[in-house]
Symmetry: C2
Subunit: 383 residues, 2 copies
């Protein structure tokens, strides 16, 4: 549960003890200020309060609080609207003695670069700082902007503040044409994401003493054709809206047999299919049913893919503003929530994604500034 | 530990409280008397005492006590010597309310047949009764006989009273030319036994997020050729000294993978090879190394096969005395201990082996008498 918890439709006055954020300062220093407001999942309240308090006074934004999620919208009547979204929560603090990726944050000089260490430096308070700086400074962007700051991203999907917002207040978000998630992408745009499907192939045999194997039916042997189909499978690379998505079909677990002298009567093979955004979930299921014809598949997890929409003019302008070759996103991220609503979405934010959740989280001050500059360019320039 | 425990080289006087066995009565009733002396593994002492006390007074036998194992030998200087061996212990009593295969024993009439119920009725106090009746009644068999009554057969192999006897007093046994184990075989001779070999084939890969499978190496996929070799394998049936042994090569366990989104870095396949007595252990290992060429095999259990020796004249005479077609034994039994010493061995005893260890153990009085008659015929007739 959130520490504040109650959805309020109007911005309240600044709550007592709410930290004051200076959104006009250097965006890298703003990142440090955000790090110093502890916001492990389930404890996003004080940071949501600070965000709400900092944005509510700005006359060009309409601010809505929903649980610990804050939405701030420009309402300029532009022909296009984009979402800039980021989560407020972090994973728990490192428990290893001497970890630098903790709270409070600290600056270090590394080969002349200013590097900020602290929990959330990479994932993703640099991105949140960029959102806040843009929200405060861009009173008249060329496309309307919906800034979404949400809670509970680092925990079970059902708790997601973004998910809850989309279910109970969809009108605050669904009028957008494109979405940018400010998750760390190391300076480039990562578009859309592959979908994922997990299923079990279960074989059942007949137990017997292994000294008289012919009296039983070996359930492990019965899975051999499924494993052969997996090994023969050549995963495709599929071009979708400007990006090449590499697929994958893999056994992730296998379990069978009970003892060294018993013909196994059960064997279960767990398979994960990562599929490109050219396919719906239903098409992905039909595909694996064809690959494993003759076996019954027990689907236990399914998440749709997300289209990047990089062939849209607005997206091409973002690519130009960022100035780096875009890449496909392989892991499943919240961009899929937007894609499911028909809103193409990409990831673009400061920091190296490989540092996420490590005991050594950090971000380069210049990376935060560069991200802000690219998005500001995109939001203020008509090309 | 045994309740008596101390090996004594000479027969002591009857211990106080030792039950008195009448070896001259009907062998089926003798079986009932044996059932009523509780002898679950580790508690064979009182039964070993009774056996020793009953055999020691007989002038044609030399009796030796070794722990709770009793050996009784005729010393007639015959040109041939055979072992008749049986274990004194039983598995624990049934715990199911109303089980008939318990102690004390009871007789039931079934379609005019007299059937004896009780723990050990099948496995194998009927066989022990036959040994005792023959030992008492055959003062001058045509071949010398070594009767072995041993403890701790139903527990770990290392505890076996027969194994301990063969290690510390081999001269009491190894001068035999042939051995009969009186384990239940439902009226026929089961000869020798297949050997068994268990090994693991372990594959090691490289873990990676399953969204980026190409950065890892899938250890489950790496075992597919081994599983394919198993499925393609056609187990042989091998004729050895008059019996056809059916072999088997089977996966008995498979374990791999840790989570639904991780390319597995380890997968282990457990395989059991049951091989005919035409092969030594070393030949069996060489064979599976050829079947799984390219994989390293980690052998974790190995037991040699036992030759039935049914082509020897003495064995052919036993087959004739029994009057039923002999069959190969598939499960590993103590005959292999004799075979390892160069003594061909067969199983032949009263009772249905499928009843062993069940809550409903029983034996038909006529089966016990028929077994005694066949062995008496074999031991007293020169054909």
């Amino acid at each position: 549960m959130s520490t504040t918890g109650n959805a309020s439709e109007t911005a309240p006055g600044t709550r007592e003890g709410t930290p004051v954020l200076d959104l006009t300062q250097d965006v890298a220093q703003l990142t440090a200020d955000l790090l110093d407001i502890h916001s492990v999942s389930d404890h996003e309240g004080p940071l949501a309060d600070a965000v709400e308090a900092a944005l509510s006074p700005l006359p060009h934004l309409r601010v809505t609080r929903h649980g610990d999620t804050v939405v701030a919208r420009t309402e300029l009547g532009r022909s296009e609207r984009v979402v800039l979204a980021g989560h407020l929560d972090t994973v728990p603090l490192p428990t290893t003695e001497g970890s630098r990726g903790t709270v409070p944050s600290r600056w270090e000089d590394e080969d002349g670069r200013r590097v900020l260490y602290g929990r959330g430096a990479t994932d993703m308070k640099g991105g949140v700082a960029v959102q806040l700086a843009l929200a405060a400074s861009l009173a008249e962007p060329v496309r309307d902007v919906t800034y979404v700051f949400y809670d509970h991203e680092e925990v079970a999907s059902a708790s997601s503040g973004l998910g809850k917002l989309l279910r109970s207040r969809p009108e605050l978000v669904t009028d957008a044409d494109f979405a940018v998630l400010l998750e760390p992408t190391a300076g480039t745009i990562e578009g859309g994401c592959n979908g994922t499907l997990r299923f079990w192939i279960r074989s059942r045999g007949l137990a017997a003493h292994s000294a008289r194997a012919w009296k039983g039916e070996n359930a492990i042997h019965a899975l051999q054709p499924a494993l052969a189909a997996l090994c023969a499978y050549e995963p495709a690379t599929v071009g979708v809206e400007g990006l090449d998505y590499r697929e994958g079909l893999n056994a992730v677990e296998i379990r069978g047999g009970t003892a060294g002298n018993v013909i196994p009567d059960a064997c279960d093979l767990h398979v994960n299919y990562r599929f490109a955004p050219d396919k719906t979930l239903e098409e992905a299921i039909a595909h694996v049913e064809e690959v494993f014809a003759g076996y019954e598949l027990d689907v236990v997890d399914r998440s749709p893919a997300a289209r990047p929409g990089l062939d849209a003019p607005m997206a091409r302008e973002l690519v130009e503003a960022v100035g780096a070759e875009p890449a496909p996103k392989y892991g499943w991220t919240d961009v899929a929530r937007f894609s499911a609503l028909g809103i193409p979405a990409v990831n673009f934010g400061p920091g190296d994604p490989l540092l996420c959740h490590t005991d050594d989280e950090h971000v380069d001050a210049e990376d935060v500034r560069a991200c802000r500059a690219a998005l500001a360019d995109w939001l203020t320039t008509t090309r």
